[in-house]
């Protein structure tokens, strides 16, 4: 367990939060994530579930589980339409110890005025990456009585970020004295209908300014292969870094539950059968995840992998190591420096 005293916040990052690393020409952000991808490394990202707590050490504890195996950490924004610690704050806490956080912004809870304010604040706190999402509907969460906002959609959100960053203005046209230098990404789900539109939908997001794309959970390799080969044919993999999402299933029961309750998750029957037939379902789920990572790395046009292991974060490091996708590369972690 990480205690508060053992967290060494690097004063460099706190006093100069907008300037975590020296600027590189041709890079939009000063973050590590963009550097790893642009160097052509196979990147690994993961997801941190912000705690139901006001204690920051819980954030640090969770992040430390990913040390030396991931290049960037997504902080989810009210995932599943459930309230957790704010993603901007989680990312700021992570940025201040030197991690490379990816700020997820969902369109569900905030209108354009609030979102632009968050983007400026996030950049001011040293957050260098942002991921534009539509967001699960309020009805998916534990407060379905809440008002849904969806003032922007993920593509208008991307356009907004790019306008602020590249033109140094707000949507109203009002000038910014310093633009938010953020590496912008979005998501795609190739595994749900309308299937034929999904590559075009990704193209639209790239046209709107997405520089990296993380996909929904992939449990169906043939589907991902078909999607990726179409993306390669369209030249999309030259224009954006694509990181397919993989995940681990704790048991066949969890898999069945996810399939029917988590919006947009497609799990083929063959995966469920394999889990059911296994002696240790949890281990088998991890084995499936490791194999998926390895298969993802073999695909043409892929720049990395996004590992989602909700409530199973403690196994991410082992799975990434077992997969060997990092080769002999050891991603940065705070302990490197102290």
């Amino acid at each position: 367990m990480v205690s508060d005293e053992s967290i060494k916040i690097n004063p460099e990052y706190v006093y100069h939060p907008g300037n975590p690393l020296p600027e590189i020409e041709g890079h939009v952000s000063r973050g590590r994530f963009e550097r790893v991808l642009k160097r052509g490394e196979f990147a690994v990202t993961t997801e941190l579930a912000p705690p139901d707590s006001a204690d920051r050490t819980e954030v640090f504890h969770e992040a430390a589980m990913f040390d030396h195996v991931v290049d960037a950490i997504n902080a989810t924004d009210g995932s599943g339409a459930n309230c957790h610690m704010s993603s901007v704050v989680v990312c700021a806490l992570l940025a201040h110890i030197g991690y490379s956080p990816i700020l997820q912004i969902s369109c569900r809870d905030k209108n354009r005025i609030a979102i632009q304010g968050d983007i400026l604040g996030a950049a001011a706190l040293g957050i260098g990456n942002v991921l534009a999402l539509t967001g699960d509907d309020v009805s998916a969460g534990d407060q379905p009585e809440a008002k849904r906002v969806f003032d922007l959609d993920s593509i208008s959100l991307l356009s907004t970020i790019i306008k602020m960053r590249d033109e140094s203005v707000l949507l109203s046209g009002r000038k910014l004295t310093e633009p938010p230098k953020m590496f912008a990404g979005s998501t795609i789900n190739p595994f749900v209908p309308p299937f034929k539109s999904r590559v075009l939908q990704m193209e639209k997001k790239i046209d709107a300014g997405a520089q990296f794309i993380q996909t929904q959970y992939c449990f169906d390799m043939p589907m991902l292969k078909a999607f990726m080969s179409e993306a390669v044919d369209k030249g999309l993999t030259e224009r954006a870094f694509i990181l397919p999402g993989v995940g681990t299933l704790a048991s066949a029961r969890t898999a069945k539950w996810m399939r029917s309750n988590v919006p947009g998750v497609h799990i083929p029957d063959s995966v469920i059968k394999r889990l059911e037939g296994a002696e240790n379902q949890k281990k088998e789920g991890q084995k499936i995840c490791v194999e998926l990572m390895q298969q993802v790395k073999e695909l043409e046009g892929v720049s990395g992998v996004h590992v989602m292991a909700y409530k199973q974060e403690q196994y991410v490091a082992e799975m990434v190591k077992d997969s060997g996708v990092l080769g002999d590369r050891k991603p940065w972690a705070p302990k490197n420096e102290y």
Partner: protein, 150 residues
């Protein structure tokens, strides 16, 4: 009306042809009306637009109409009011994540757009709705813009 809406996406090609043929006529007559009445007929025109597009497309009178780019399917019927394509939550049967009994608006829009001649229009990036225009007539605004431009 849900059934009329589905019919529109199914027959998007015919609707597109009708739209392309009728919209210059509607706009020309509206321009004339605007010139003569200086906006005195705005209310009944808005009412007519609401009734006609409401029946045909379940129009929500957002005042930012993009029907011809979205396979003749009104995107404002999406519970998330998405204007640039489907979310990632579409059910395996093509129905909506939020309203399981309804076909996903963007599954319909995609089907409609494949039927249409100008099917590339669905790829145009749409910025968010201007909420100041909610409840107002898109027809009148188009006509007025033309009158002003001249």
């Amino acid at each position: 009306m849900y059934k009329a809406r589905l019919f529109a996406s199914k027959h998007a090609r015919a609707y597109e042809a009708m739209y392309n043929a009728s919209s210059p006529i509607i706009l020309a007559s509206l321009r004339l009306v605007q010139k003569l009445t200086k906006g005195k007929l705005d209310k009944p025109i808005t009412w007519a637009e609401k009734k006609i597009k409401g029946f045909l497309f379940d129009c929500q009178m957002c005042g930012n109409c993009i029907l011809s780019t979205t396979g003749m399917t009104c995107p404002m019927n999406c519970p998330k009011t998405l204007r640039n394509g489907p979310c990632g939550g579409v059910r395996a049967n093509g129905n909506c994540e939020v309203k399981p009994e309804m076909k996903c608006v963007w599954v319909e829009a995609w089907r409609g757009s494949r039927e249409m001649k100008h099917n590339h229009k669905i790829q145009e990036i749409q910025f968010a709705v201007n909420h100041e225009h909610k409840g107002s007539s898109a027809w009148i605004r188009l006509a007025n813009e033309d009158v002003k431009a001249k």
